[in-house]
């Protein structure tokens, strides 16, 4: 017999996505999914973000790594709720893992959940985890060709961060090439050029983020 159907292969993941979204909506929490290569500076961006945001909003962090708790240890000093996930070799997060992290959180006392996904430009872009926005993080030492080589992430991102701009003079990185390629893939996405550790450009990113949280809180009434 032949069974004809049109069934989403990722149905199990999508079911949990619905639960995650419902949970977040109930408590008016904004959830961001930070995606970038290993070494792009995702954790440094989180450090700069927490330094600028944690007095204004109640932030919780979900840190995902294939191995080690080093990223979580770096963020402990900010004193925000921190949930650590070791994926044990898996190259991305799925929604069931996020749901079990949310289960442990006091969402009623949270404004933003920021997820640092596993360092990878392909797999995390393909799995919806119930986030409101994906943030793509790329960095100067990686080269200016990342948008062209990994277009889907840059297409799906609601904001793009180009980190380590203080290193531009020491590399052959062309901000113009990066921007031109990015615009062909995503003509409307905001691009934040910054140095998470040096501080240049960080305030513009924080201002956008603050507006994004306020927008989401006003939409949720």
């Amino acid at each position: 017999m032949i069974i004809e159907l049109r069934q989403d292969i990722l149905v199990a993941n999508q079911k949990m996505v619905s639960v995650v979204k419902e949970r977040l909506a109930q408590e008016k929490v904004l959830m961001l999914n930070i995606i970038g290569s290993p070494g792009a500076g995702k954790t440094s961006l989180l450090e700069a973000t927490l330094a600028g945001l944690s007095e204004r909003f109640r932030v919780a962090i979900i840190e995902a790594d294939v191995e080690t708790k080093r990223d979580s240890e770096r963020l402990e000093r900010f004193g925000v709720p921190l949930y650590h996930i070791n994926t044990g070799g898996m190259c991305h997060l799925e929604s069931d893992i996020i749901l079990s992290s949310l289960d442990q959180m006091d969402l009623a006392a949270t404004d933003i959940v920021i997820i640092e996904n596993v360092g990878n430009l392909i797999c995390p872009a393909d799995f919806d985890i119930g986030e409101h926005a994906k943030i793509a993080v790329s960095s100067v030492p990686e080269g200016d060709d990342k948008p062209s080589k990994y277009p889907v992430l840059f297409r799906e991102a609601e904001a793009v961060v180009l980190n380590k701009t203080d290193l531009v003079p020491y590399t052959n990185f062309s901000v113009e090439n990066f921007t031109t390629d990015l615009r062909r893939i995503n003509g409307t996405v905001p691009l934040f050029e910054l140095s998470a550790t040096g501080g240049d450009g960080v305030q513009v990113w924080l201002d956008w983020l603050i507006k994004r949280v306020e927008l989401s809180q006003s939409e949720n009434g």
Partner: protein, 117 residues
Amino acid sequence: MHEMSIVEHLFGVIDDIAEKEHLTSIQRVEVEIGGMRQIVPELFQFAFDAAKDRTIAAGAELVMTFVPIQATCNVCGAVFEVQLHEYVCGSCGAADVKVTAGKEILITSIEGDCNDN
């Protein structure tokens, strides 16, 4: 290598359908994959062949159909196929476009034997 994870999900769906339809063996599985899914056909086939071992789909053939990415221009309304991930309207040059197809990740057909007759 998210192909492996997606194939795991695929077998979850196959198991559910097989149980519901009382299938005893599966000869053919057809899937439809959008261009935005970044699936490498060879890796997907490899992952499928590795996963099907010792399941009722052990002898199954996998048929993959790839769906091109399609978009609509938010400025002039033109509908066009996205080539090489260039999300720019071919008619008016606007980069403000909405993707309307290419994110599919579907199982579209299963051929197998059932034990009901």
